[in-house]
């Protein structure tokens, strides 16, 4: 499934949020991808891949999950974005 998520925390997708996403994504069996509007795609289970998106505050990303637990995975990752990664 696919949903749009927006980065709301002030510092953007830096190490800590990327770590949170990768950690949470790693707990699901589904394949989880985040796509930047500029076309670059990140494997949400790889922190390096997420960091390479270089997404600052305000960026909208497309979250795509595919697999047996894709709905739970999408909900969990969306939750992180909405909570601003507990940062601000």
């Amino acid at each position: 499934m696919e949903v749009e998520v927006k980065i709301l925390n002030r510092l953007g997708l830096h190490a800590r949020p990327a770590a949170l996403i990768a950690q949470r994504a790693g707990s699901f069996a589904s394949e989880i991808k985040l796509t930047h509007s500029n076309g670059s795609v990140a494997d949400a289970k790889s922190i390096l891949s997420l960091l390479m998106l270089g997404a600052p505050c305000g960026t909208t990303l497309t979250l795509a999950t595919a697999g047996t637990d894709e709905n739970e995975a999408a909900a969990a990752i969306c939750g992180l974005f909405e909570a601003k990664f507990d940062e601000d």
Binding site: R16, L51, M52
Partner: protein, 597 residues
């Protein structure tokens, strides 16, 4: 190991002495992050390398977990979270996959493959527009350094860190150098710098043999634990020396040691020419303990105390009381012999982020020395001058200002000193009523302004290292222009001669405290030019004293006149060298062995 061919490399002799021993490669910032050697493996080794890679990842992960555990009690939960990110990097599937592929498909060893993949990520992240994300590359490199450390530790066997080593590095900052443990370090060689960079200066004062300006391709050939001979007299490095070469160097080492012992026995003799002219020989030091070595070699004063190392080595700024303590203990150790304290000289290649608010594109031409003290941090300067004024009542203290380029700078400092004296008077704190103030002559401007400067200061001290770099417009930390590091360049000699002549005419003291002061090749020349004092790393006092005791002032003066008429640096050096050879051939052999030329 033993059948590798002997390889010789020529660098720049930065600090004299020999070192024979095994190599310890120091990576940037003291960690182990440096591009590993690019080599190939056989298909049979693939599984071994992949296995080694995973073992190293596990070891790094355990290391981070342990650190995190230690921090958990001390730090904010938020900060500990940084390590979560680091842990994820060790678990990162994308990274692991790419490294495994590179090992298997390109037949690269694990350390090299890992380094290349990490650098690819770092390069991609470093171009991001967001600075905050960009800074994460430091985290990635931090993790990578841990993993590499484990990988390379395994590949090079067990390294005994408690034995003595020759340190090799691409670069050592002056503070890295100062932090080297003299008992465990035999000497060091680095790629950057020249004979007059601060790293070299420190090496000399620490009596550590050092060679700078090593070509990068030579460094790549060297591995941890390799056998190396470092010749700090000629600037040579010999990798995998044959048994004969090693034996020859051991003989040389022994002979030099005996010679220096003999020189040390002369320490009570005065530095007097055969026709009765006496020079003051003193030591350049950066901490109080160095005074013992000055005495050991028979120095009669401190010609340069580099006070910036008090600042660079402490976590906070040293307070007035702390500084007072340091100055007083120096003065009491020196009895009534003169102690020249150079005020804080920050700038150039001695950068300090805590003290300097701005990074300058061209720090050697920036706000350094007295400029920095007057313009940027008058608060630090006031504290230092107050401490010096108070210490002035405890002994023969003199204050020297670095990087002077105008008369006004001296006047401004003198006004500040009067103000502080007034302040101390009202606070009923004992202080010196007259503190001799000297100008360092290290810019061409100061040398040309010697006459007006002589009217407002009590002494000159010629800092030849900077004087050469500024006169010849050649950055002394840039190895590409270090061929211009020519103290006998006619332009430089004219400035030095002018400064000394003016000082003598105005009856003020003039010393030389740059590198040439401790280099016997220049001793006949400096004596002939009429300098009052030579200040140098303590260990060099012996050879210089021996040269002076064998010189005739009358001859030296004539030679100096001849030198000033030379049109090339080489010719000028030649004349001084000839005098050295006829006065003290044993010293001439030491600084320029006949076989090397």
């Amino acid at each position: 190991m033993n059948n590798q061919p002997e390889t010789v490399c020529q660098g720049i002799a930065a600090s004299s002495g020999y070192a024979i021993g095994r190599v310890c490669f120091v990576r940037q910032n003291g960690n182990f992050y440096l591009e590993p050697v690019d080599s190939s493996i056989t298909p049979e080794q693939i599984s071994v390398e992949i296995e080694a890679f995973h073992t190293a990842l596990d070891a790094a992960r355990n290391g981070i977990l342990k650190l995190q555990e230690e921090l958990r009690n001390k730090a904010e939960a938020h900060d500990v979270g940084i390590f979560d990110a680091q842990l994820l990097i060790t678990d990162d599937q994308l990274l692991t996959r790419e490294v495994e592929q590179m090992i298997a498909n390109e037949l690269k060893p694990a350390d090299y493959a890992f380094f290349k993949v990490v650098e690819k990520f770092v390069a991609a992240i470093a171009v991001m527009p967001d600075n905050y994300i960009k800074e994460r590359t430091a985290d990635i490199r931090d993790v990578a350094a841990r993993v590499l450390h484990h990988l390379q530790d395994n590949s090079s066997g067990n390294i005994e860190y408690d034995d003595q080593r020759i340190i090799l590095a691409h670069d050592l900052t002056p503070s890295d150098t100062a932090a080297l443990d003299r008992r465990r370090v035999l000497g060091f060689a680095v790629e950057t710098g020249s004979a007059t960079s601060h790293t070299a200066i420190l090496a000399r004062s620490m009596q550590l043999p050092a060679v700078l300006g090593i070509p990068g391709d030579f460094l790549e050939k060297v591995k941890d634990n390799d056998m190396l001979i470092l010749d700090g007299y000629s600037g040579k490095l010999i990798l995998h020396p044959t048994r004969e070469t090693e034996a020859e160097y051991r003989r040389k080492m022994e002979a030099t040691l005996i010679f220096f012992h003999k020189l040390a026995e002369e320490k009570r003799l005065s530095a007097e020419t055969r026709d009765g002219f006496v020079l003051q020989l003193s030591g350049n030091i950066e901490n109080v303990d160095d005074i013992d070595t000055v005495h050991e070699y028979g120095g009669c004063g401190i010609g340069l105390f580099r006070s910036e190392y008090m600042f660079l080595n402490s976590s906070g700024l040293p307070s007035e009381e702390e500084q007072l303590d340091i100055y007083c203990s120096m003065l009491s150790k020196m009895k009534n012999e003169p102690v020249v304290v150079r005020t804080l000289d920050i700038g150039g290649d001695k950068l300090d982020q805590a003290l300097q608010r701005y990074a300058e594109p061209n720090p050697f031409l920036g706000l350094r020395g007295v400029r920095f003290c007057l313009k940027e941090r008058p608060d630090i300067f006031r504290t230092q001058l107050r401490a010096l004024l108070r210490a002035g009542t405890y002994g023969n203290l003199r204050v020297m200002l670095p990087m002077v380029s105008c008369v006004e700078e001296i006047l401004e400092v003198k006004a500040l000193i009067s103000e502080l004296q007034e302040e101390l008077y009202h606070e009923h704190i004992e202080h010196a009523l007259h503190l001799p103030i000297g100008a360092m002559i290290e810019t061409p401007a100061a040398a040309l302004l010697a006459a007006p400067l002589a009217k407002v200061v009590d002494f000159f001290s010629i800092g030849t290292n900077d004087l050469v770099q500024y006169t010849l417009a050649a950055d002394r930390t840039n190895e590409r222009v270090n061929y211009l590091d020519m103290p006998t360049h006619p332009a430089v000699l004219t400035l030095i001669a002018n400064t000394i002549a003016v000082a003598r005419r105005h009856n003020i003291w003039v010393s030389v405290c740059g590198q040439i002061a401790g280099d016997p090749r220049f001793t006949p020349l400096l004596v002939g030019l009429g300098v009052h004092e030579l200040s140098m790393p303590p260990a060099l006092i012996g050879p210089v004293r021996r040269v002076i005791r064998n010189l005739q002032m009358a001859d030296a003066e004539l030679a100096a006149i001849e030198v000033l008429e030379c049109e090339t640096p080489a010719r000028a050096l030649d004349i001084s060298m000839q005098m050295l050879r006829s006065a003290a051939p044993e010293i001439a052999d030491l600084v320029a062995p006949a076989s090397d030329n």
